[in-house]
């Protein structure tokens, strides 16, 4: 069966520090991958999606970037974190673009 992992589970970082969040999917090939951010008590904001290795589409211009170095690995990065980057970061995958998405456990990021 397919599983999706995210780490770390929680992270507290100072303003201006770099960020690297990792997401990996097991048990499937060529997944469509997504990064979402969820602010406290809010909905899901799509940040990036990828339909293949090295293919990244950005939905919201911001302080973050994404990379997909391997088929089942998706990384979210920042060179310098802002206070507004705090939130719950969720990685998800789907077999078909725009179809059922399966979410990872998420990373709670607090920028101080």
């Amino acid at each position: 069966s397919q599983t999706i992992h995210q780490w770390p589970a929680t992270l507290v970082q100072p303003v201006g520090s770099p960020l690297s969040l990792e997401c990996t999917v097991e048990g499937t090939s060529n997944p469509n991958l997504y990064w979402y951010r969820q602010a406290a008590g809010r909905g899901l904001q799509l940040l990036f999606y990828s339909v293949g290795i090295g293919q990244i589409s950005s939905e919201v211009p911001q302080n973050l970037s994404a990379s997909r170095p391997q088929d089942r690995q998706f990384i979210l990065s920042s060179k310098k974190l802002l206070l507004s980057d705090s939130g719950f970061y969720l990685c998800a995958w789907s077999v078909i673009p725009g179809e059922t998405q399966y979410f990872g456990p998420g990373t709670r990021l607090l920028v101080l």
């Binding site: 909905g43 799509l46 589409s57 939905e59 673009p97 725009g98 059922t100 998405q101 979410f103 998420g106």
Partner: protein, 115 residues
């Protein structure tokens, strides 16, 4: 761009009462999906509707897709404390453009159940 509106934002019900959340899209959808996020957890897929006017049931949950494929509803009969969480709808825009590669999520309805 496509917008998905979900109402109400919050709903408090007494255990045993019914609950309904509504989802409306600004554009025609190829499908609508519903997810549940428990407090402190991540969204979990519940169901996908594809056909116009489709109705699906999962025990006490009834999901409906509108005839015009622009709206949907989730109805829970006789709520229980295990139903607590935020319910999100998500729609995929009909067509072959970039929008069809992604789901647009509503902001969710947070359900509280008073024992």
């Amino acid at each position: 761009g496509q917008q998905v509106m979900q109402i109400p934002q919050y709903q408090h019900v007494q255990e045993g009462e019914d609950f309904t959340t509504y989802c409306n899209s600004s554009t025609t959808l190829s499908n609508i999906q519903w997810y549940k996020q428990r407090p402190g957890g991540h969204p979990v897929f519940l169901i996908q509707l594809v056909k116009s006017g489709e109705v699906k049931k999962q025990k006490r949950l009834t999901f409906q897709f509108g005839e015009a494929k622009k709206n949907s509803s989730l109805h829970i009969t006789a709520t229980q404390t295990t139903d607590v969480g935020t319910y999100f709808c998500a729609g995929r825009e009909l067509g072959s453009g970039a929008g069809s590669y992604q789901l647009t999520f509503g902001k969710g309805t947070k359900l509280s159940v008073i024992p």
